[in-house]
């Protein structure tokens, strides 16, 4: 029993012994207050359900996601005061309600309060503004019930999270010059560059054919050695090598230009969308953190219907700071890419220190195109061209949030 309860009991006993109605009344009130708190502390959280429902777990920057918060009181005991505090990721913005900072780093609080009758259900409709790319979570939630006198009686934290991912915007592309140059010289015209996945048939064995090319079922059927032949590689492969570092990163470790990073992500997403619409196999490589223990984020080129979604997911997860030097990423590309693929180097920085690596990629058989982005794009493109690397300038005006098209010019 609490102090107030003891005091109330004492006053009741004294009042009864002394025959003082006033003391009896005050003591009884004290016991009543403490009694009500005890009831809500014991039973308040029982039969109480809390649900979060997001209309979608995938959105694009600029979207609005409907959020329904539902509380159900599955018992007869009414809840005069019910407070729910959702811990949400930094960056979650709810149109109808402000989030407040908490003592936990990277988390904000979204608070709601209800009054529920017995067996009542209340649904509140909110709208989450997907303002920036990223991965966001809502939850866990701390529920607190109070008695009729608004005194906190019981509290419980419910685990469970609702997550949503915001992909960067994808805008249309306006290309002034020679976009076909991005696709590099078609591998089929450069001589026999068979694609091992495009099995085209068989032909008789000729001296010098490798043993691993023998097609054994046909050989058994015909009684003579037959080898596999392949169609030449016809599908273009393009890898977007995104340099997530900005000029600010060159000045101080860990610093970055937020708007420039977002602009780069919009540019990369828009390029990918355009290429995939042209049925070009497109992939992405970035030296950035994505929430897993891996220094590089890599999505192999592909042209399937889900490739654009996967690209968007990867871009959404990227950190704004690099995880490794971009030169290291470029140097490792020959181990994962097929010769003949086009590498679009998308960067907002001065390319001078990386041009040697880009030229080396070109000598290894990759068609390297430098796409300069940002306020110094024209100068960066000029330097790349003077070093013998084909270069384009990409612009997103007026900014990454409202720009309608990515303009690319040679």
């Amino acid at each position: 029993m609490s102090g107030l309860a003891w005091a109330g009991l004492g006053l009741v006993l004294v009042g009864a012994w002394a025959g003082t109605p006033g003391l009896l009344l005050v003591g009884s009130l004290g016991l009543l207050v403490e009694g009500s708190r005890a009831v809500w502390a014991r039973f308040g959280l029982g039969g109480l359900e809390y649900e979060r429902h997001l209309a979608t777990d995938r959105a694009v920057c600029g979207d609005v996601i409907a959020l329904d918060l539902t509380v159900r009181n599955r018992k007869a005991l009414p809840l005069a005061w019910l407070r729910a505090v959702d811990l949400v990721s930094d960056g979650v913005t709810v149109r109808e309600r402000d989030t407040v900072p908490t003592e936990r780093a990277g988390q904000l609080a979204l608070a709601n309060a209800w009054s529920l009758a017995g067996f009542e259900r209340v649904v509140r409709h909110y709208h989450v503004l997907a303002n920036r790319r990223g991965v966001y979570a809502l939850g866990p939630v701390r529920l607190t019930v109070s008695d009729v006198f608004a005194r906190s009686a019981a509290s419980r934290e419910l685990p469970g999270r609702a997550r949503y991912l915001v992909r960067p915007r994808m805008v249309s592309l306006r290309m002034a010059d020679a976009p076909r140059a991005w696709l590099g010289p078609q591998p089929a015209r450069r001589g026999l560059l068979e694609q091992s996945q495009l099995f085209a048939g068989i032909r008789p064995y000729q001296p010098g054919d490798p043993l691993r090319s023998v097609h054994w079922p046909s050989t058994a059927r015909t009684g003579r050695p037959q080898v596999k032949r392949y169609d030449p590689a016809l599908q273009h492969e393009v890898l977007i090598a995104l340099d997530i570092a900005t000029p600010a990163s060159d000045l101080a470790v860990g610093s970055f230009d937020d708007d420039l990073v977002e602009g780069l992500c919009v540019a990369a997403a828009s390029l990918a969308r355009h290429l995939l619409a042209d049925e070009v196999a497109c992939g992405l490589a970035v030296a950035a953190f994505t929430g897993v223990v891996r220094r590089f984020a890599y999505l192999p080129p592909g042209s399937g219907p889900r490739q654009l979604g996967r690209l968007g997911d990867l871009l959404a997860r990227l950190s704004s700071v690099p995880s490794a030097p971009f030169e290291e990423l470029l140097s490792g590309l020959p181990t994962v890419l097929r010769p003949g693929a086009t590498v679009l180097v998308l960067s907002s920085r001065d390319p001078t220190r990386r041009l040697a690596t880009e030229r080396r990629l070109g000598r290894l058989g990759f068609a390297v195109q430098h796409v300069a982005f940002g306020p110094r794009a024209a100068e960066a493109a000029r330097r790349a061209r003077s070093a013998g690397v084909a270069a384009f300038v990409a612009r997103l005006e007026p900014d990454w949030q409202t720009g309608e098209a990515l303009e690319v010019a040679g």
Partner: protein, 361 residues
């Protein structure tokens, strides 16, 4: 050849059905027309479904709904695409289904070096003469495992077979056995070295079946099953034969479909073309598929008439894989299943009234 090496039923007709109870009407008998024989046929169909379900459950745990869709595809004279992540039992379900039906069974493993002639067959020179060696497609039930690992060239070899039940090889057209059903499996994760099925081929599958991960209880049963024996398929008995399948298919075709139910099915398909989220809606082939699939579902329930609920029950499986979702909507997480669910919620279900001329009378 059946799944376990027994002589297949092929097109020639029946093998005694081991799973049927002695004295009961086998599904191949006395079907069609009005009155007693028709009722007996429907009851036999319902019992056959129960036997089939129990037989396959000896090997495959927790797959009743996917199995029902395979049965629907069989009765509706269609083909089924089984799509799901690795390791959930796609191939096991297909093999158990084949074994329970006792039909001729052929299998093709989708590999990048698969030739069209590996599917359809080819001629070989023997003693100075050409002899045609039929490919695995000349069977009743063809399992194409990992179809999206085969090249587009090989996939196209299946197109004619699936649509027309015949193949053209070296100028000669050769019919395929009856019944003929293609069960194709594929992994939805698009790894390097896979080729997405084109819309034209996807449209030829009557249903797309997804198994999903088993529940915790079922997963435990699966583990214990393999502890008990190395090959659970050995416990799957035969419950039907080719003649029985043909009879059930004929019974399916004769099921009554009220004009209201027919209009409802057509309305659902047409609605797929009008949704803003859909870039390419379902074709008229989908209307036929939905119609036939609903009939098959009604027969499995032992009815001789189709309800709107039968159409709803198969709508997602029949329509979802035929839709091409708008890129912007897909980026926001919209799936074809969600679109079909939305259509089902939006298109009003017609009331079916009892009375002269109404379904069921």
């Amino acid at each position: 050849m059946t799944e376990d090496g027994r002589p297949g039923a092929g097109a020639a007709g029946g093998v005694p059905v081991a799973g049927a109870v002695a004295g009961e009407a086998v599904a191949g008998e006395a079907v069609g027309g009005e009155g007693g024989p028709a009722a007996a046929g429907r009851q036999a169909a319902s019992r056959t479904w129960a036997h089939l379900r129990d037989a396959v459950a000896e090997a495959v745990v927790g797959a009743e709904q996917p199995l029902r869709l395979l049965a629907v595809a069989l009765l509706a004279d269609g083909h089924a695409l089984i799509e799901d992540v690795p390791g959930v039992g796609k191939t096991l379900l297909a093999r158990a289904f084949a074994r329970a039906l006792g039909l001729g069974f052929g299998r093709i493993q989708g590999t990048p070096d698969l030739l069209p002639s590996d599917i359809t067959g080819s001629s070989v020179l023997e003693d100075g003469r050409l002899r045609f060696v039929p490919g695995p497609v000349f069977t009743n039930l063809l399992l194409v495992d990992e179809i999206n690992r085969a090249t587009p060239r090989a996939q196209s070899a299946l197109l004619e077979a699936m649509q027309e039940r015949q193949v053209s090889i070296e100028g000669a057209t050769r019919p395929l056995p009856d019944p003929f059903l293609v069960l194709a499996t594929q992994n939805p994760v698009e790894l390097a070295g896979t080729f997405a099925l084109p819309e034209a081929q996807l449209d030829r599958f009557l249903v797309r079946v997804r198994l999903g991960y088993p529940g915790p209880g079922d997963e435990g049963r699966i583990a214990r099953r393999y502890q008990r024996e190395a090959e659970p398929l050995a416990r799957v008995g035969q419950v039907l034969d080719a003649a029985g399948v043909r009879a059930l298919r004929e019974a399916t075709r004769q099921l009554t479909v009220a004009p209201e139910v027919e209009a409802y099915a057509v309305a659902l398909v047409r609605a797929t073309r009008e949704r803003p989220e859909v870039e390419l809606g379902a074709s008229p082939r989908a209307s036929v598929a939905l119609y036939r699939a609903a009939q098959a579902g009604a027969l499995l329930d032992g009815r001789d008439f189709v309800l709107p609920d039968d159409v709803k029950a198969v709508a997602v499986a029949v329509l979802a894989h035929r839709l091409v979702i708008d890129v912007d909507r897909a980026l926001r997480g919209t799936t074809s299943e969600q679109v079909v669910d939305g259509i089902l919620a939006a298109v009003p279900v017609p009331p079916i009234l009892a009375g002269p001329g109404a379904a069921g009378t």
